[in-house]
């Protein structure tokens, strides 16, 4: 990549005025560094990820509403977590966390257990318990 080819596309970085450093060759063939505001293929890839997460959140919301899963799944998606991450945050085995996504099991959970999830999601126990998918 030549110095004048360092991409200056619009990206999510520009919103916070962040530029990333790139290595590129100057006109004499010597390596130098230049700042980039963003690059379109990367922006599209990131948008794809965000869109994917939003779809997962929407599906989780519908499933909570229809009584298929507990609010744990919804908040897990909102926080971009997977089973490994969530079970580590609440300090429980994955199979237990997965059990807690069943609405019937969720209803019977103790305050102490709920607190662990509420803390992991940075919300109150009430917010967690009363989320109805609306």
């Amino acid at each position: 990549m030549k110095e004048n080819e360092v991409p200056q596309d619009k990206s999510n970085l520009s919103t916070v005025n962040l530029k990333e450093l790139c290595y590129a060759v100057d006109e004499n063939g010597e390596y130098t560094t230049a700042l980039s505001t963003g690059w379109e293929p990367k922006t599209i890839a990131l948008e794809n990820s965000i869109q994917d997460i939003n779809e997962r959140i929407e599906i989780a919301k519908q499933n909570v509403k229809n009584g298929i899963v507990s609010p744990v799944v919804y908040f897990m998606e909102v926080h971009k977590m997977d089973w490994v991450t969530l079970s580590d945050y609440v300090g429980m085995w994955q199979w237990r966390v997965k059990r807690h996504t069943k609405p019937n099991v969720f209803k019977k959970m103790s305050e102490k257990q709920l607190k662990k999830y509420a803390d992991a999601f940075d919300i109150s126990i009430d917010e967690l318990k009363n989320f109805k998918g609306e």
């Binding site: 990333e20 290595y23 063939g29 690059w39 890839a45 990131l46 794809n48 991450t85 945050y89």
Partner: protein
């Protein structure tokens, strides 16, 4: 309290932290040199492991490996400490700052407040330096940022004790011994040899072989997983490849910069040609990203576009195979 530390921006966080910490200790080492001696160029594919709901493709070695290898090869001793207790972790850090020791930390990205929201994922192998504390605010040098920034006690505790894969467990690290005489020639040679061996490793999940395996799987994705998932996989691959200076093209250019410098230190003119060649390979990785982006943007559902991408990846793999075989001989 504030240490006399200078912030330099870098393309990749671990290189940057290593280079900035060593510069503080009077060693003039830039990012490409750390990356080259520390054998930062890598490739890894493990499809049964899923990251962000896509197969794990990594363009970098395990976190900490670049700095550890670079330090070891230069005879520098680095101390690393992990903690189980949040308060102890903060106390140890503050003690270091009181003793005028800027300290590197492994942190999770998800709660880094100064990052744009879209970049905050559960990625736990980010690196930064804490170089001081004022009231209850830590002074932070994050090498991928243009300037220094700050985090409060609470914010820093959250990122140091982020959970999930590769959880940092409050890990902090800093050089404790620096030899008076640094043997650059030897370190550079060791670094290059290690990278050649990694990329040519005779196992399917590492280096050139892993690239070939990815190419094989790309052909299968649309039929096996459907176009939507195939496109998601591709998008994740490009993110791993080019995000914040890590991976494909970005890493190749850093490596090319390293080879250019190594040519002067080792007085080996041939390495300059290798540098030029690596720049060309870097450009090929970037073209691959552009073409992959076209596929997942247009949502084209012909199997041919995936085959074309797989072919392109195979060309790159073949080129790198020749490159590293020759580089190994030239050292």
């Amino acid at each position: 309290m504030q240490t006399n530390f200078t912030h330099h921006q870098s393309a990749h966080c671990e290189n940057g932290v290593a280079s900035n910490l060593l510069k503080f200790h009077g060693i003039n080492i830039n990012e490409p040199m750390v990356f080259g001696i520390g054998s930062g160029l890598f490739y890894f594919y493990l499809p049964i492991l899923k990251v962000n709901h896509a197969p794990a493709i990594s363009y970098r070695p395990m976190p900490g490996s670049i700095f550890n290898k670079a330090a070891k090869r230069l005879g520098i001793k680095v101390k690393r400490v992990k903690f189980s207790n949040n308060l102890q972790a903060q106390k140890a850090l503050e003690e270091n700052l009181n003793n005028n020791i800027p300290t590197g930390l492994q942190v999770g990205v998800y709660n880094l407040t100064y990052f744009p929201d879209e970049y905050r994922f559960h990625f736990n192998a980010h690196n930064l330096v804490v170089y001081g504390k004022e009231n209850n605010t830590f002074l932070i040098s994050d090498p991928v940022m243009e300037t220094v920034t700050t985090l409060t006690d609470k914010e820093l505790e959250k990122v140091r004790f982020a959970k999930g894969a590769l959880a940092p467990k409050g890990q902090m690290y800093y050089p404790i011994h620096i030899p008076t005489d640094l043997n650059w020639e030897n370190a550079i040679k060791k670094g290059i040899k290690n990278t050649c061996n990694d990329m040519l490793a005779p196992v399917p999940i590492v280096g050139i072989n892993a690239m070939k395996w990815v190419a094989k799987d790309i052909r299968k994705w649309p039929a096996k997983k459907g176009v939507k998932v195939a496109n998601h996989y591709l998008a994740q691959m490009v993110r791993m490849q080019e995000e914040i200076g890590t991976g494909g093209g970005g890493f190749r250019f850093i490596y090319a910069a390293f080879l250019q410098e190594a040519a002067v230190i080792l007085k080996n003119e041939k390495l300059k040609e290798f540098s030029t060649e690596m720049t060309i390979i870097g450009d090929m990785w970037r073209d691959f990203a552009v073409n992959a982006a076209r596929v997942y943007k247009n949502r084209s559902n012909q199997t041919d576009v995936y085959n074309a991408l797989a072919d392109e990846l195979l060309v790159i793999a073949a080129k790198e195979e020749t490159f590293f075989k020759n580089l190994k001989k030239a050292i």
